[in-house]
Symmetry: C2
Subunit: 157 residues, 2 copies
């Protein structure tokens, strides 16, 4: 068996077993570093009530803890479904090397997980989004940005 298939099958196993155990939706993920699984994630939204505990986010949190670093540049993610925009954002912030996925986001939409709606919202100007987004107090807000620019040692690993 290809090693890539082995890792994907583990992500798929998590998607099925953790759903059956009641943790959340049917999504699993693993993160691999140097040929070894360093983190196993799964959707835990029903368990935690936290809407951000998707499988990929759960796996990234555990992997960054295991690696002691917020950047996972040498790691690969195997996820049982194509990432939603939130998880895709997390993947980019974590700077993962490569992503393998099983189901597509169209498959997810077909069973009620409609991230296609979110992808469409992202493309819209702020003024036309379903969730209104309004700017307030930009002059006051920018002070923290100016302070950040004065700081040194901004990286942690």
């Amino acid at each position: 068996m290809e090693k890539t298939d082995f890792f994907m099958l583990e992500a798929i196993r998590l998607s099925l077993t953790k759903m059956k155990e009641g943790y959340g939706g049917p999504f699993g993920a693993v993160i691999v570093y140097q040929g070894e699984i360093i983190a196993r994630g799964f959707n835990r939204v029903l368990e935690t009530n936290d809407p951000t505990t998707h499988a990929e986010v759960d796996a990234i949190r555990k992997a960054s803890e295991a690696m002691g670093c917020s950047e996972l540049t040498e790691c690969e993610l195997y996820t049982s479904c194509e990432p939603c925009p939130m998880c895709l954002g997390a993947i980019y912030w974590a700077k993962l090397k490569k992503v393998y996925y099983g189901n597509t986001h169209q498959d997810a939409a077909a069973i009620g997980f409609d991230d296609a709606f979110i992808y469409k919202e992202i493309e819209r100007p702020l003024s036309q989004r379903h969730i209104p987004m309004l700017q307030l107090l930009p002059e006051e807000a920018k002070v923290a940005f100016e302070e950040w620019q004065k700081q040194e040692n901004k990286t942690n690993c």
Copy 2:
């Protein structure tokens, strides 16, 4: 003072003080329900090594815990900066009612937080993204989706 300004000033205060205390970048957020702050979030990436602990995600996690529900339909988010794609995804999954922001994402890019890059990546087909995304074992992956469709009681609140 307008109540909206009051809440935004609290988000801005968090963005500045928590950055100075070393938790992470200059970003703060609060979530308001029925005129009261129910959650305070801030960027904690340097503290936790977790790249997903942006201010908005941190606030959403705390608010969903406080409300005992993954959907925050009657809540408003005040964030010191326009959300990145990850946080925007989280906002949609949490079904927040309204978002107020201070700095823009262009302001964030100007001090080194380049989520504009991620917005551009989202628009690209999977085959053209900087992080390669490859499909594996879709037949095996779909089994969990089929099982999900057979389940009842899929909501938690």
